[in-house]
C-alpha cells in the first residue's frame, strides 16, 4: 500500500472517529471540565469588604487562602472523621449482610427466590430523602414504636449522642442499600459455572462450606466493585444527616464534608471557601477510591 493511500485512509478514519467522539467530548467538556475549572477559579477568590462592611463587596484574588481556611476549620476536619467512622460501621455490616443474603438466596434450599429478590430490593426504590423522613419519625420519641420498644426494654436510646446519631444514619443506609447489593451479588453467584459447585459437592463439601469457600471467593470482583461504589457514595453523606439533624443535637450543620460545603454556600455565602472545600473533598475522594482499588486488587493478585 502506498504511503499516500494509507494516510488518506487514516485521515478518513480519524474523521469518523472525531464524529463519534465529539458528542461525548462536548458534553464532557461542558458538564465536567468547565464546571471543575470554574470551581478551581472560584476557589482562588474571595468576596472582601472593608471597614464596617457597608461599602460593598469586591472579589479579590486570595491565592490559596480559601484552602488554608477550609483545612484550618476544625468542623471540616471532623467531618472527615465522622464520614470515616460512618464507613467503618456501615460498609462491613451492609456488604456482609448483602453477601450473606445473596448466598442464602443462591443456596439449593432457598424458596420463593423471586419474591425475596423483590422484597429485598424494595427499600432501594425509595428515594433517600423519603427514606430519611420515614426514619426521622421512627427515631422521634413519642411518635415512634421503635423508640418505645427500646425504652420498654430498659435500653437507653438517645439520638442526641454522637454514637446513636452515627448508628441511626448508618442504619438508614444499611436498610436502603443492602437489597441492591444482594441483587448484584446474586447475579454474580448465578454466573458461577455449575460444574464448579458440583465438583465441590462431589468432593464432599457441605452447603455452608461451598458457600464460604467456593462461591464467595469466586465473586470477589463483584464484591470489590460494590465496596468501591459504596465508599464513594458513603463519603458524600448528606441527605440523611441533613434530615435527622432537626431531631439530633449531635448533628451540626457541618457534620460531614458535604454538609460543610453546603453550609458554606447556603448560610455563609462563602463561595470561595465552598469551592476550595469541594476541591479538597474531591481529592480525598479520589485518593480514597485509589487506595480501595489498589488494596483490593493487590489482595486479589
Amino acid at each position: 500500500m502506498s504511503r499516500s493511500a494509507s494516510s488518506a485512509l487514516s485521515r478518513r478514519q480519524r474523521g469518523a472517529a472525531a464524529v463519534f467522539i465529539a458528542p461525548f467530548l462536548i458534553l464532557f467538556l461542558a458538564t465536567t471540565i468547565v464546571p471543575v475549572g470554574y470551581a478551581v477559579w472560584l476557589s482562588l477568590y474571595s468576596e472582601q469588604t472593608s471597614g464596617l462592611g457597608f461599602g460593598g463587596a469586591e472579589t479579590v484574588f486570595v491565592g490559596l487562602d480559601n484552602f488554608t481556611r477550609a483545612l484550618g476549620s476544625e468542623s471540616f476536619r471532623d467531618g472527615f472523621v465522622t464520614v470515616g467512622l460512618y464507613c467503618a460501621v456501615y460498609i462491613p455490616v451492609m456488604i456482609g449482610a448483602a453477601l450473606l443474603l445473596a448466598l442464602l438466596l443462591d443456596s439449593a434450599y432457598a424458596r420463593a427466590k423471586r419474591f425475596f429478590q423483590l422484597a429485598l430490593y424494595l427499600p432501594n426504590v425509595i428515594p433517600g430523602l423519603i427514606a430519611a423522613t420515614i426514619w426521622f419519625y421512627l427515631y422521634t420519641p413519642g411518635l415512634s414504636p421503635v423508640v418505645d420498644v427500646f425504652e420498654s426494654l430498659g435500653l437507653g436510646w438517645d439520638i442526641n449522642s454522637y454514637g446513636a446519631a452515627l448508628g441511626a444514619i448508618a442504619n438508614i443506609a444499611i436498610w436502603q442499600h443492602t437489597g441492591y447489593n444482594v441483587i448484584i451479588f446474586f447475579a454474580a453467584l448465578q454466573a458461577i459455572p455449575r460444574e464448579v459447585i458440583e465438583a465441590a459437592t462431589v468432593d464432599g463439601a457441605g452447603a455452608v462450606r461451598t458457600a464460604l469457600k467456593v462461591k464467595a471467593p469466586l465473586i470477589r470482583g463483584a464484591l470489590v466493585l460494590a465496596v468501591l461504589f459504596t465508599v464513594i457514595g458513603a463519603m458524600q453523606l448528606f441527605t440523611e444527616p441533613q434530615i435527622i439533624r432537626t431531631e439530633s443535637a449531635a448533628i451540626g450543620g457541618e457534620w460531614t464534608p458535604a454538609m460543610f460545603i453546603y453550609t458554606a454556600v447556603a448560610e455563609r455565602h462563602d463561595y470561595g471557601q465552598a469551592a476550595a472545600a469541594s476541591i479538597i473533598f474531591a481529592v480525598v475522594l479520589g485518593a480514597a477510591s485509589f487506595v480501595v482499588t489498589r488494596f483490593t486488587s493487590r489482595r486479589a493478585a
Binding site: P35, L52, I232, Q236
Partner: protein, 433 residues
C-alpha cells in the same frame, strides 16, 4: 472515579454558569421610551398576605405590575436570594428582616436607596426604625413593621388554673412553676430547639447590645453582663423543666392540646395564632412582654423591603414598596385578609391596621394598643451585626445542644461570639477587640 466526584464538587459552579446565561437572556428586554409601557417586577416574600397585597396593587396600577413569588423564610430564603443575586436572576424586590439587612448589605446584595428613598424613610418613619435600615449613613430598605414583642397568652387557661398573668420575669417564673403543678403536661412557654430569635430579642430587652460600632470597627458582645443575666434566667427555666423544649411542629401540637399557655413573639404573631388554631377563638389575649423591673420591650422579626443589586427597575420597585408600606391602601390590603397582624412602623397607619384586623379571635381586645405600647418601650440603641447569618447558624446549632441538655447557654453564646468574629474577619470587616 475522580471525574465523577469532581462533578459533584463543581455542581454549584455549573448551576451558576447556566443561571447566569439564562439571566442575561432575560434582562435585555428594554421597553421603548416613547410609549408608556407596563413595567413588570418580581417580588419575593414569605410574609403573610403578600399575595393579597400584590393583587390589590396590580388591580389599582397600570404602569407597574408585580409578580409575586413565595419563598421560604429564614436561612433558606436568604440563601436563595444570595445565590440569585450572584446568578443575576434575583427578584427586583426582596424582603429583608431588620436582623438580616446588615448581612445582606455587607455582601453587596442590595442597592443603595439613599437617593431614591432616603427622604421617604427620614420623613415617615420613627427614628428607632430608621436606624435599622440606615447603615453606614445610607438607606438600604423601606421598613414595613415594627416587630414589637408582646406576650400572647391563653386567658381561659390562666383563669382556669387561677394564675395571674405575669408582668415581670420573676412573676413569669412563679407562674411557670404553678402551670407545671396544675397540669404536669403543660408548660407556660416553649423553647423552640433551633430558633435563635427568642433569646436574642430578650437580650435586647434586657439591655444588651450584641453589636456596636466603634469608629471604623465592630464591637461584638454576645456574652456581656445583660446577656448573661437573660441567659442564666432561661438556663434555669430549662434546667428546672419549666419550659417545653419543642420543634416547631411539636409547638403547634402542644398549642392544639392546650399544653402551652404563652407565646412570646412579635405583634405580627396574632395572624399566625388565628390561622393555626381556629378552635381556640376567643381564648387568646395579648399582654405586654414581662420585664425586669421597668417596662421594656424589644423587636422580634420586623421586616423591610429592599431592591436587589441586580435590578434595573428601581423606580418601579420603589413605587410598589412605597405603596405597600406607607399608604393606607397597602396596609389595608395586607390586613383585611386576616392572615397578617402586622403593626405598621408608621404610627398613623396603626389606626388603619387596627380597623382592618378582626380581633374576634382575641375576644375583641385592642391588640394594637398593646403592640403600640410595646413599640414605644423598645430599648433604643440595638444594632444588628453584619454577619447575622453566621451568628444565627452558630446559635441555632448550640441551642439544639442546649435543648438536649448537652450544653449551657453561656457556652453557646461564647462559641457564637467566636464564630461571628471569625466570619467578620474573613470577610475583611474590622473588628474592635
Amino acid at each position: 472515579m475522580k471525574a465523577r466526584s469532581m462533578k459533584a464538587a463543581a455542581a454549584l459552579a455549573g448551576a451558576m454558569v447556566s443561571m447566569a446565561l439564562v439571566a442575561t437572556g432575560c434582562s435585555s428586554a428594554d421597553t421603548p421610551a416613547d410609549k408608556p409601557a407596563v413595567t413588570e417586577i418580581t417580588f419575593w416574600s414569605w410574609l403573610r398576605a403578600s399575595q393579597e397585597v400584590v393583587d390589590a396593587f396590580n388591580k389599582t396600577h397600570t404602569d407597574v405590575q408585580v409578580k409575586f413569588e413565595q419563598v421560604p423564610g429564614g436561612p433558606d430564603g436568604y440563601g436563595k436570594f444570595a445565590n440569585a443575586v450572584k446568578a443575576g436572576n434575583a427578584p427586583d424586590v426582596m424582603t429583608a428582616e431588620y436582623y438580616m439587612l446588615p448581612d445582606m448589605v455587607s455582601q453587596g446584595q442590595l442597592q443603595d436607596l439613599t437617593g431614591s428613598a432616603g427622604e421617604l424613610v427620614r420623613s415617615k418613619f420613627p427614628a428607632p426604625v430608621q436606624s435599622l435600615v440606615t447603615l453606614g449613613g445610607k438607606t438600604w430598605s423601606v421598613p414595613l413593621d415594627a416587630g414589637a414583642m408582646v406576650m400572647f397568652y391563653r386567658k381561659d387557661l390562666f383563669d382556669k388554673y387561677g394564675i395571674a398573668v405575669p408582668k415581670t420575669w420573676d412573676e413569669f417564673r412563679t407562674a411557670a412553676e404553678r402551670v407545671k403543678a396544675a397540669n404536669p403536661k403543660a408548660r407556660i412557654a416553649d423553647w423552640v430547639k433551633d430558633d435563635p430569635s427568642l433569646l436574642t430579642s430578650l437580650s435586647w430587652q434586657g439591655g444588651a447590645k450584641w453589636f456596636s460600632v466603634q469608629g471604623d470597627a465592630w464591637k461584638v458582645d454576645l456574652s456581656g453582663g445583660e446577656t448573661s443575666k437573660v441567659a442564666a434566667y432561661w438556663q434555669d427555666m430549662l434546667d428546672k423543666d419549666l419550659v417545653a423544649v419543642v420543634s416547631p411542629d411539636e409547638k403547634t401540637q402542644k398549642q392544639k392540646n392546650s399544653e402551652l399557655l404563652v407565646t412570646l413573639t412579635g405583634a405580627w404573631g396574632a395572624g399566625g395564632l388565628r390561622g393555626g388554631l381556629p378552635d381556640q377563638a376567643g381564648k387568646w389575649a395579648s399582654a405586654p412582654l414581662p420585664h425586669w423591673g421597668t417596662p421594656a420591650s424589644a423587636m422580634m422579626g420586623g421586616s423591610s423591603f429592599g431592591v436587589a443589586k441586580t435590578s434595573t427597575k428601581t423606580e418601579a420597585a420603589l413605587k410598589f414598596i412605597t405603596w405597600m408600606n406607607t399608604t393606607p391602601e397597602g396596609i389595608q390590603a395586607r390586613l383585611s385578609s386576616g392572615a397578617s397582624s402586622t403593626l405598621p412602623a408608621i404610627p398613623e397607619l396603626a389606626e388603619v391596621a387596627k380597623k382592618n384586623f378582626d380581633t374576634a379571635f382575641f375576644g375583641g381586645q385592642d391588640l394594637y394598643a398593646v403592640a403600640g405600647e410595646s413599640a414605644a418601650a423598645i430599648v433604643p440603641g440595638w444594632t444588628w451585626g453584619p454577619a447575622m447569618g453566621s451568628t444565627n447558624a452558630a446559635l441555632r446549632e448550640g441551642y439544639a445542644q442546649v435543648g438536649a441538655g448537652k450544653a449551657k447557654l453561656a457556652d453557646v453564646l461564647g462559641t457564637a461570639q467566636g464564630r461571628t468574629v471569625d466570619d467578620l474577619k474573613s470577610r475583611g470587616i474590622n473588628v474592635a477587640q
